[in-house]
Subunit: 152 residues, 2 copies
């Protein structure tokens, strides 16, 4: 653990997992439209969205993807993480009222470079709505120790 | 163009480009923290963030990434786009007050499947802060025509 209660790279093992769940409300969609600038009618106009293949409004894909960022930054590896990359496949729509569970699972660890790849999956119930991979640079106990002894 | 003024796949050519620019304010970072649930101290705690390699608060990577979604959904291909995938490399930090320009450029077109891949780059001034690729399903004039004649 680092001083912010995040995992050091040395603490991690393949298969470690954490989940962050959030219910997507109309308020989330409205706020996300304002913050992102993405005012696509399929997110904000019920009458129009009802005429599409989705049959009604859907949440922004990047809104659900942001829950992955929360799972990574708050839980695993947690505070101290630096986000280097993310791949996303948007597989199914998320609708107002749906609860999205973003699960991140350690897939590979590069101890020397303090880098870790995590599988990132968002589900609504049993349906996978997003899958992909995150690449994170974590803190390192070995680096902290090396730094402390070089400055003492 | 489709009925929502978005581009059909037949309208697109390699190299077509559009940009959406937005200034990232403290309000954006606070709202994004609330909507995403990502309350990492590097985004929300100036005293802590000042002690990190960044030297102060930075915006969430996914906040800047959401401007790509706006450029795609509002401009190119625009309304009617269905977001299938996105890759992101976070290359440099974005700070409160920075203006992020998200530029999307058509890279390849699959007419038959109405799919298009776009290069997606976010810049602050001349610095690339995010790069990656988006995969989009667009509307198709040919499909509309086929549907109209099959139901007439």
């Amino acid at each position: 653990m680092n001083e912010q209660h995040g995992y050091d790279v040395e603490d991690l093992t393949i298969g470690m997992s954490a989940t962050y769940g959030k219910t997507v409300t109309d308020a989330d969609i409205v706020l996300f439209a304002g913050v992102s600038g993405d005012i696509n009618a399929v997110h904000t106009n019920q009458e129009f969205a009802a005429t599409t293949a989705f049959g009604g409004r859907i949440a922004h894909g990047m809104l659900s993807a942001s829950f992955i960022s929360a799972a990574l930054g708050n839980r695993l590896p947690g505070p101290g993480s630096i986000y280097l990359g993310q791949t996303l496949r948007f597989l199914a729509p998320v609708r107002p009222g749906d609860t999205v569970n973003a699960t991140v699972t350690v897939k590979s660890i590069d101890l020397r470079r303090a880098r870790v790849v995590l599988e990132t999956v968002c589900r609504v119930g049993d349906t996978v709505v997003i899958d992909g991979e995150a690449t994170i640079m974590t803190s390192s106990a070995a680096r902290r120790l090396a730094k402390a002894s070089s400055t003492s």
